[in-house]
């Protein structure tokens, strides 16, 4: 039976996606934001905003390190780059072994040349990043199982969706706004078909990043996808301050050897052929000192760990080591590496990152419109039935509510006082509380302008975010423009765009409500089902 196949695929498409669609929406949205994890963290640490664009950062960093840890085992300088425009330094105090932790850390204020103290503790982009593959507040492996199952269902839904959507080119470009179900179908099809390669890629690679959990029988590692380079852009904690205090006590005398950093820096940069993002100095201020410069870009997609080229100099400024990694070995490892970098976007420059973000937005549109399409199609027959009501309540809370929660999360970042204990947790608590409030609201008061209220609330929050940013950051927006802090400005810009989208949606809901009321007043019966 030819029709039977299509029908059963439609069934599969509908139900495999509906079961987990709100989880998928949350995963897609937070995952899309995770492409800008370091950038979001930068925005959410306003104390660091003054660090943008330091002049001669290398000298500033070394002189700071000389003052604070002259006898350290090693120093590390992370220069401002396109993702995190702050100048940060790490060091290991004398006698301290290089362990998992990076040692003490500080972000430097380019004006005074000292560390920026008491920067706020924030959950930042990391919370969104972790949420998108292991949720929150439940055991990690459970979270990963849920996300894994949801992704598998997503994978099935995508492929069955491709199967049932026969005429790919026929309505490839058609979008018919203002036509109820047809518009939703179009939005769903546009979101999915136009970015189909991305959707397949991101779902598939997401699955096998979780393979360690999902394929429990092969004793895989549980750590897939955890290591991000810029993961811990926090500030020096209490413990680390103590270490710093210890580091300042010179326990043995060393001969001070100075390096001509600037000259080596320029040479290394021309040798690497790209901007330098990281400098490591081992045994600083001794004759055995070695300086390693690491580039910011991966030379190939097939690296999934490390993979940035680096060069090392000794104290006389002679090149002693260069390492231009050649990529993973063997076809399997290469394929794996490519797929994995594609998902994590470590390779991405600014443009590619935005392209990935854009595709992610399309994916979010696909999932969201799919969820709405389900209830839209059944509106006439099933209003009042429990299944339909549950789905529409969850649609409201899962889509509009998530935006409200996100807005509240960013607001909390600026409004929760900077000094209090467990500050990062408070941000997360506020995120979930506002989400919970939206869920309650959509269960109890959905009928009365539920969509309108939540969309408008979220829209208002995102609209005012740039204003809040300007008011609560030590650096105003004008100053940020002249300093070239594009990371922060892009955040504000995207937040305005989000607000525009949410307001447009709210307007749409409002006009739809008016229309349907008008229709109810006049004689109304149109075609029953579409």
């Amino acid at each position: 039976m030819k029709g039977g196949f299509r029908k059963s695929m439609t069934w599969l498409h509908t139900w495999s996606s509906l079961v987990v669609i709100w989880v998928l929406f949350a995963i897609f949205l937070t995952g899309t934001l995770s492409f800008f994890r370091a950038e979001i963290t930068h925005w959410m640490t306003p104390e660091h905003h003054i660090s943008a664009r330091a002049e001669s950062p290398v000298l500033m960093a070394t002189s700071y390190l000389q003052s604070v840890a002259p006898f350290g085992e090693s120093w590390q300088i992370s220069l401002p780059d396109s993702r995190s425009p702050v100048l940060g330094v790490n060091w290991l105090a004398e006698g301290e072994e290089r362990q998992r932790r990076r040692g003490a850390r500080a972000v430097i204020d380019p004006v005074s040349g000292t560390a920026i103290e008491d920067a706020r503790e924030t959950a930042g982009g990391n919370f969104l990043y972790r949420f998108h593959f292991e949720l929150y507040g439940i055991p990690r492996s459970v979270g990963r199982w849920i996300v894994g199952i949801a992704s598998m269902l997503m994978f099935i839904a995508i492929i069955s969706g491709v199967i049932i959507h026969r005429k790919i080119f026929a309505d490839f470009f058609s979008f018919r706004p203002g036509k109820k179900t047809a518009s939703w179908v179009d939005a769903h099809v546009l979101g999915s078909v136009l970015a189909l390669p991305f959707h397949i890629m991101i779902t598939f690679t997401g699955l096998f990043l979780l393979a360690g959990t999902l394929l429990f029988w092969q004793g895989g590692n549980e750590r897939g996808g955890q290591q991000g380079q810029n993961a811990n852009r926090g500030h020096a904690s209490e413990e680390q301050r103590e270490e710093r205090a210890q580091a300042e006590k010179p326990s043995s005398q060393r001969e001070i050897v100075s390096l001509n950093m600037n000259a080596i820096y320029l040479e290394a940069e021309s040798l690497l052929g790209q901007p330098i993002s990281d400098i490591t100095i081992s045994k600083p201020m001794t004759h055995e000192a070695e300086v390693t410069f690491r580039g910011s870009e991966k030379s190939s997609l097939s690296h999934f760990r490390g993979g940035t080229p680096e060069v090392t100099y000794n104290v006389k400024g002679e090149l002693i080591k260069e390492n231009f990694p050649a990529g993973a070995e063997g076809p399997i490892a290469t394929t794996y590496g490519v797929l994995r970098s594609l998902h994590e976007g470590h390779f991405a420059d600014v443009l590619t990152r935005w392209l990935l973000f854009f595709s992610g937005v399309l994916g979010t549109v696909m999932v969201g419109s799919g969820a709405l399409l389900w209830s839209q199609k059944r509106e006439r027959q099933q209003v009042g039935k429990p299944g339909y009501e549950v789905v529409s309540a969850l649609n409201l809370a899962g889509i509009a509510g998530l935006f409200v929660a996100l807005g509240a999360y960013f607001w909390a970042n600026r409004l929760v006082p900077a000094g209090i204990d467990g500050r990062a947790d408070w941000e997360i608590i506020i995120f979930f509380c506002s989400w919970l409030a939206c869920i309650l609201h959509s269960v109890l008061l959905r009928q009365r302008h539920g969509w309108l209220l939540q969309l408008a609330a979220a829209g208002l929050m995102f609209l005012l975010l740039p204003a809040l940013d300007a008011l609560t950051s030590p650096v105003g927006l004008v100053a940020a423009t002249t300093a070239g802090d594009w990371v922060r400005l892009s955040f504000d810009f995207v937040s305005l765009l989000t607000a525009a989208g949410l307001w447009a949606a709210a307007y749409f809901v409002l006009s739809k409500g008016r229309k349907s009321r008008a229709r109810r007043n006049s004689v109304s019966n149109k075609k029953g089902k579409v």
Partner: protein, 113 residues
């Protein structure tokens, strides 16, 4: 480089959109696409998309170029769709000035209805 690639992709996708029944009349006034015309437009469209790969290759190494190209395909496709919906005039102008596929039409055999 990026803009050039994006422009080529948009022009390529306009060929595809010209071959669909829904937006055929934006370009040809009336009627519906015949098979020959549709195939011809598809071929030219694909050529445009492939041509867009060249500026990508010029700007990035091979692997990155593919990624950038695919990403731009997504952007271009969405762009063409939105333009067709909200500003068909702009699409028509692009069609007249940039789409070589249009020139092939008179040479195609007229299909009998």
């Amino acid at each position: 480089m990026t803009l050039l690639a994006l422009l080529l992709i948009i022009l390529g996708f306009i060929h595809f959109s010209a071959s669909t029944r829904a937006s055929f009349k934006v370009f040809f006034g009336r009627g519906r696409p015949q098979t020959d015309l549709r195939n011809w437009l598809h071929i030219v469209g694909y050529l445009y998309l492939i041509a867009a790969l060249l500026p990508c290759l010029a700007g990035w190494n091979f692997q990155m170029a593919i990624v950038v190209w695919l990403g731009l395909l997504h952007v271009g496709a969405v762009g063409v769709t939105l333009m067709l919906t909200y500003s068909p005039g702009l699409v028509r102008r692009l069609w007249l000035w940039g789409c070589l596929g249009r020139l092939g039409k008179p040479f195609l055999p007229k299909a009998s209805n």
